[in-house]
Symmetry: C2
Subunit: 350 residues, 2 copies
């Protein structure tokens, strides 16, 4: 700001002590200070003592930026996600953080709000040397957008299966299997007319869950006249989608929603339509978000191993950063699990 050229800025900014100050006070070289503080080579116990005391007295804190410039490592990881408000996320993030903290890394949380620009912006932080590695849950960008980072050898772990790259590690679940579990549960309860509230076909999890649904229904010979309504991954989508499904004749006796948020929208639509769950209609969700257990009718759902996904992704990344792993991308698929609550039961008598 030009304006500040004329303003007298009296520097309250007290200079932080540096390694040079510590060295001077302790009467040793900066090399010895560095080694004493980092335990990177032998330092005479007496000298070490003097160094530690001097650092203490001066209130010295190592400048991590300078260190980062020198070592080309900042010991921080980026976690890039599309939506911080997604209830899937906190437990996942906790898994990431626990694993990272244990290895001495700091996690930087980057929320892109489903915007491609922001995805690029945060990926650039790595390109600019601020992040050593990235855990990426991509929402808009394509695989080729990562080529610069891959060329620069910045490790990236992908979450989900939206992007696939032979060089990148990846953590995902088998959405086809998950959908099959949902269908099986309903069929075993006696349902035959099962409708699907599908997620957007542009979403990889959405389309794979739909695929699993269709496939499972076909295997059971229940695929004549399948009812599938595609809605956005939000409550309103679930609400409107359910209304259109209720208009069908004969009415389905069960709904499989592509995620829990959609399922909650469905529960609201059913309540407003005066239909009891599960007596009139059963509902199954997907994710097992924390709310699922406390909504009006606690939700039967396919639980994702959120914490483990975060933990696993972080460990894959740390393996790359430490040089323990140099091979091609590893694919880890974690298991889904059916969680039975009150939203499912036998179909009403015909």
């Amino acid at each position: 700001m030009e304006v500040n050229d004329y303003v007298i800025v009296y520097s309250t900014e007290i200079d932080m002590p540096t390694i040079v100050d510590v060295a001077r006070v302790a009467g040793v070289s900066t090399a010895t200070v560095s080694h004493a503080l980092n335990n990177t080579r032998y330092v005479d116990p007496q000298l070490r003592e003097r160094v530690l005391k001097a650092a203490q007295d001066l209130g010295y804190h190592r400048n991590a930026v300078a260190r980062g410039l020198r070592t080309k490592r900042t010991r921080s990881l980026g976690l890039i996600i599309p939506d911080i408000a997604n209830p899937f996320f906190p437990e996942f993030a906790r898994g990431v953080q626990d694993a990272a903290t244990q290895a001495g890394y700091t996690v930087v949380l980057c929320n892109t709000d489903w915007q491609k620009d922001k995805e690029h912006e945060f990926l650039n932080l790595a390109q600019q040397g601020l992040l050593d590695g990235i855990i990426l849950n991509p929402s808009e960008i394509a695989g080729q957008d990562l080529s610069n980072l891959i060329k620069a050898d910045i490790p990236i772990v992908l979450i989900g299966s939206r992007i696939d790259h032979p060089k990148l590690d990846q953590v995902s679940v088998d959405n086809v299997v998950g959908a099959t579990m949902a269908v099986n549960h309903l069929v075993e309860l006696g349902h035959r007319r099962i409708a699907h509230l599908a997620g957007p076909h542009t979403s990889s999890s959405g389309s794979r869950r739909r695929e699993g649904f269709v496939q499972a229904m076909r295997q059971r010979n229940l695929d004549k006249d399948l009812t599938i309504v595609e809605v956005p991954f939000n409550q309103e989508g679930g609400y409107q989608g359910t209304r259109s499904i209720l208009a069908k004749e004969p009415r389905p006796t069960a709904l499989f929603a592509a995620n829990d948020v959609i399922a909650i929208g469905a529960l609201l639509a059913l309540r407003d339509a005066g239909l009891q769950v599960p007596n009139a209609l059963s509902v199954v969700g997907f994710d097992d978000i924390p709310v699922a257990a406390i909504v009006s009718t606690p939700l039967t759902t396919i639980a994702q191993p959120k914490y483990q996904m975060g933990e696993c992704a972080t460990n894959l990344l740390l393996d790359r950063l430490s040089g323990r792993e140099k091979g091609p991308g590893r694919r880890v698929k974690l298991d889904l699990e059916l969680v039975t609550r009150s939203s499912t039961g036998p179909p009403p008598p015909a």
Copy 2:
């Protein structure tokens, strides 16, 4: 095949191009490259053109760590919070991020899990030069733990009123007023026996809401034999607390819970006790978390302006960072609002 006996490990770690490379290719000095890229002084259009082209061709990305060392600014802010899973948080964080992004700052999210150690660890990131400023929602640390940072002139904005410091900016709500709003709403509906599910007295918001409750009840002359049960800020606390309140004779006709999560626990306890809400008992929460609208009985609650709190805190911080503000700590109190939903109604006939 003999050929394969030697595994060629070619160092994929291609050196990232630096400003020196760009200068060489463009045939100018590094000063000119820097100024051309940053628009910090006049650069001949032809030279600028050559610089930009060279940067483009080389795939140059400015090293933000080196820049940070030189300028002593990293353009990133830390947002330190105790619990990423708290539903209060996402909207707040979004407010922070929007304001920060607009000013060209990156937000680093730091989750302390209610651990004092982690609070210190993240505060240290600022001490180490990695964060220019901090928005802090303290959970365990005390005011004096901040003295090092304050001495080092690192700006901190406090959220809530757990810590108070004359030099620090602060964003909070008036919890006493909020509690009064809750009581007034219930009294106006006709309730006289109102119980309070209080938060921990160690929490500043918990004790101020209790204070507001007591004060409002006293003003209405309803403070004979007040029922107050102190519980932790979680669902289980709300559940157990409600059970103990239901044992009282005469039974209260309304509950004011210190936050929405407690209120949701209360709703579950009431359901399990076979008591209809609001017919048998009314319930008011505090926070207006997203779930509040979709639980079995949508919750009447005191809404906090979460987004604005984040936005406001960030702007206070940015004022300090830019030097626009140098005075003593500013206190901003944002307004609470009563949101009426289905969990409150007139008391049952006596």
